[in-house]
Symmetry: C2
Subunit: 337 residues, 2 copies
Amino acid sequence: MNPKGKQSIEFKEPPFLQSWASIVGDKEGEGPLGKEFDQVIEDPYFGEKTWELAEARFMHQTALLAIQKAGITKREIRYVFAGDLLEQNMSTTFGVKDLKIPLFGLFGACSTAGESIALASMTVAGGYADYALALASSHIGSAEKTFRFPLEYGSQRPLSATWTVTGAGGFVVSKKKSRIKIRGITTGKIVDYGCTDSMNMGACMAPAAADVIYQSMQDFGMSPKDYDAVITGDLGEIGSKILKDLLMKNGYDLEEKHKDCGLAIYEDESQDTHAGGSGCACSAVVLAGLITKRIASGRWKRVLFVPTGALISKVSFNEGESVPGIAHGILFESEGI
Amino acid sequence: MNPKGKQSIEFKEPPFLQSWASIVGDKEGEGPLGKEFDQVIEDPYFGEKTWELAEARFMHQTALLAIQKAGITKREIRYVFAGDLLEQNMSTTFGVKDLKIPLFGLFGACSTAGESIALASMTVAGGYADYALALASSHIGSAEKTFRFPLEYGSQRPLSATWTVTGAGGFVVSKKKSRIKIRGITTGKIVDYGCTDSMNMGACMAPAAADVIYQSMQDFGMSPKDYDAVITGDLGEIGSKILKDLLMKNGYDLEEKHKDCGLAIYEDESQDTHAGGSGCACSAVVLAGLITKRIASGRWKRVLFVPTGALISKVSFNEGESVPGIAHGILFESEGI
């Protein structure tokens, strides 16, 4: 019934995005999409005493805002699907706990926005919940401390490195019709080309993105011309080029249709962000801030949204392991009401 | 339709456990359940060069064994739901990647066996997959290094501390009838009583276990007499006592029915494991090794299985934060065929 092709689901009774919310940090507010986000928080600590609790607060406030924008109360949300980048999902724990909503905690690295929306959609379409909430967050302070060096060290970063987006995105999913239909999903496999450069995450993730985009097009019988945009999460400049090369080799020319949230969120020349934005929040806030509006307005009729994740930890890096990638595809369509 | 009460699902078309597999370490093999596990691996490194890759191999081999025991091939598994305790789910990444199955990565701390079986059940019952695989792993070497001190330091541990189980459990879920029906699930909320003692995880998790057990009984209209056993994941001695006290205050006497996987897996006197076993693998391997067999044989007609998780990281501990808990309930029933 619902399964489509090898790796996708096409929902018989599709769920819809009821609301979308984005709260970002100062740097994101100064970027080209600054005016599109719901709130910009100037204080990087968001009034908290640590980077991790700051990130948790971004997630918490974003959850409340998404619920409010959906016109419901938090008691009407039956499940929250949430994740972040930190060790043992610290910002999810402290960002979600006071919501008192049953939680499915996720780890999908920077692909979390895709993973959480996919599971929320399956849950709603499967008749398990009237409303489900998908959340993802990241923070430059907590992420650099987790994966590289604390910001306070002032380490230099190569041009291939990305800049972790500070913020959170939240999405309420339900069967109630809205202008944004979730037609289907394509769930990614881990793809490992053996890339070990943690300062070049885009290259590590591109093969996984290419794999899931190829499979989604196969499963739904589509080609690049059928989409208004195919939007990856945080491949950045280098990863985007690899993605397009890989898909071209498989017969799909994505040149005209590909966009990347990591390339959209900052203005590299003036903001010195190198290869682009990254982090769970990158795709989540660009979806909430920009993509949803273009679909809701009907400017874009069909979008394949593909958050991308690099499966790395400090330990796997220090032990010399590769950085496998994963990506999750969501097929959005605009709906007349 | 499927939702039941405030926080549960009762499946209209219930899924069944097709197979269960457990692979454990040497210490677990020497414990009271030693003969119940499918395989005991004497080499703690499982032929790998690091604790993390050893844990990944436990997960990988367990996945293959569960698939084989279900009488299917890995291509028939549409989704894998998997998680572990490590930073950024390192053992899941390296344990699952070569399976080449679409992955939903989870973080539920030691409650992962419950979370993964719940989502696999929802996925199968919702018509999204014929077969889904749920996996959870932990390893004493990788866990102590992650949360406390590397084993090589020889640190002393207080009597309230638990011993992380080395191993992995795997479960294939499908709608095909078997002797073990998954009647429903109750998904936990994060519960935080402000406990900050990382050497007393049982106390930190007990309130979350009490919360989800209470809610499950309310939602399904049951009381302790209706179960053959209510089995928590890894509360250990101290947490088990707190759990029973909390439920007694809410009118439910669990004294006769409560069991804890952490108390079942080791013989404290001879094995020197203090408060009991813990880790994602603790509930997973006791489910696969013991509980499933008792349900399949009809000795137990109904079991509420409640893996318990302590939401802690090295960072949250060092920053002085509390250790919130979460628990996920699965309602198993024996089925005549």
